[in-house]
């Protein structure tokens, strides 16, 4: 066998290798699996697992956050705190229904107070556990068979039993006959769903409901996927005004590199809930991050929306050992619901 014959036979042998169109996905999976295995970083695993995200971050310069492009301070190790979603809180939240994700939320006392008006929370910052999913037991008045969109429930650990701080839900009212699909289902403090339109000024208005796709949940029952979309926030940073139509939606820290953080966040799809941008609020020793969407309410009626998951990279440049905090989900939803489990 001469050299050319060897080349030919090696080529024929290598021709047996099949194509792998999903090669990039395989590599990512490998990286994620090894990260988890090595315990080097929680990363996107935190989105899938039931834990989450509050991190102390040491940052470098006093400046507003900006999207991409800056050089920052020397990175420091970022421990992930997930103790807020304790076993007890998580279990209490699962009593409300099927939880897709838990988010550990840490907010400053001032922000927490605006959410927990009827529940005493102590400490600064305050830790919550946020559950997102199909939490049917939050209210008993929704007719059976009505498909759910996303629900949110925020729970805090107190001295006694876990306290439900607030909750919200989007429920598409189709295919119920005779119901205006543009109506909003509002969860009142009593936990009752009101399949009626609400005014734009109503402080209890949650995200819009009534899906344009009448069958099933907006994500068709699939779990939230952090790779669903990768789009930058276009209008950022923004200031939240105190209106009921502006919604802070869940986010998770996916990765951190130096002063740059990669964040996975929910945002309106742009029809009835419009992505606005993010808000970074610097305080003494902390920085709070919120992702804002705005519910479009016309003639006193809301409409349907879905909240896809986006991903973006932000640069935080203030130094001084700030702790990165997660603002609770919606200032507009700061209504206490009774805990049906209690």
């Amino acid at each position: 066998m001469n050299d050319d014959e060897l080349r030919r036979r090696l080529t024929l042998l290598a021709d047996r290798v099949p194509a792998r169109p999903d090669a990039a996905i395989r590599v990512r999976t490998t990286v994620r699996r090894r990260r988890r295995h090595n315990g080097v970083a929680a990363g996107l695993a935190a989105v899938i697992a039931a834990a989450a995200v509050v991190v102390p971050a040491v940052l470098a310069h006093r400046a507003p956050a900006r999207v991409e492009g800056s050089t920052g301070p020397t990175p420091v190790p970022v421990p992930t705190v997930s103790a807020t979603c304790t076993r007890g809180l998580s279990k209490a939240l699962t009593d409300y229904g099927t939880v897709q994700h838990f988010y550990a939320v840490r907010a400053s006392a001032a922000v927490a107070a605006s959410f927990a008006q009827n529940v005493h929370v102590s400490g600064d910052p305050v830790d919550f556990c946020l559950a997102v999913g199909d939490l049917d037991n939050l209210a008993v008045s929704t007719p059976p068979g009505v498909p759910d969109q996303m629900h949110y429930a925020l729970m805090a650990a107190g001295t006694g039993a876990p306290q439900l701080v607030y909750a919200s839900a989007n429920r598409p009212l189709q295919p119920l006959p005779g119901i205006d699909p543009a109506a909003i289902a509002v969860y009142q403090p009593t936990g009752a769903a009101l399949p009626t339109a609400v005014s734009a000024a109503a402080p209890t208005a949650p995200a819009a409901a009534a899906s344009s796709s009448p069958t099933g949940t907006p994500d068709d029952g699939k779990p939230l996927n952090p790779m669903y979309r990768a789009l930058p926030v276009t209008k950022a940073p923004v200031r939240i005004t105190a209106t009921a139509a502006e919604l802070s939606l869940p986010w998770l820290l996916a990765r951190r590199k130096g002063d740059r953080i990669e964040v996975v966040y929910a945002a309106g799809a742009g029809d009835c809930v419009v992505p606005v941008g993010y808000q970074v609020t610097y305080g003494k020793g902390r920085v709070e991050l919120a992702f804002i969407s705005r519910a479009v309410v016309q003639d006193g009626q809301g409409c349907a929306t879905v909240e896809p998951i986006h991903r973006t990279v932000l640069t935080l440049t203030r130094s001084e050992g700030l702790t990165l905090l997660h603002s609770p989900v919606s200032p507009a939803w700061r209504k206490q619901l009774p805990n049906p489990a209690s």
């Binding site: 080349r7 090696l10 090669a23 590599v27 990765r255 590199k257 991903r311």
Partner: protein, 175 residues
Amino acid sequence: METIVDAAEEAEFDAFVRARWPALARTAYLLCAGDLGHAEDLVQTALARTMRAWSRLTDRGDLDGYVYRVMVRTHASQRRRRWRGEIPTEHLPEPPAAAGAATDAVEDADLLTRALARLTRRQRAAVVLRFSEDRPEQEVADLLGCSVGTVKTHTSRGLARLRELLVTDTERSLG
């Protein structure tokens, strides 16, 4: 940890993987002596390490070289891992029966993979990179992290062993 952070880098990496996976997999397949599962693991390992280093790989023109270096050296460093299951045997469990072009091709591939599996990892890497990849000796030396002289030695001994094994196996399979 250095890693890909932004969407642009991620898209760039994805495009690189899509473009280079086939060639990497072919080489890995030969390096692993026809063990497809091991070969794909090897490529994934090399690309995963590349992904983690992506942000600091400023010389995008040498990405290929970087991945090949990682892959070849990872393969070479795995010599103590016995789970890979490359267990040379003296005889085929069942000699191929029917004749014909397709069978011949399969048989030929089997003979070649069995022969490759009996080379040392360094010999196999040298032969594959020289004769399947057509890489010059200096480049093979760079990939393997050794001198050109060592590459020549590995190639020469590997070729000699390969020819010997192929002749022996062919004669045995013919009966």
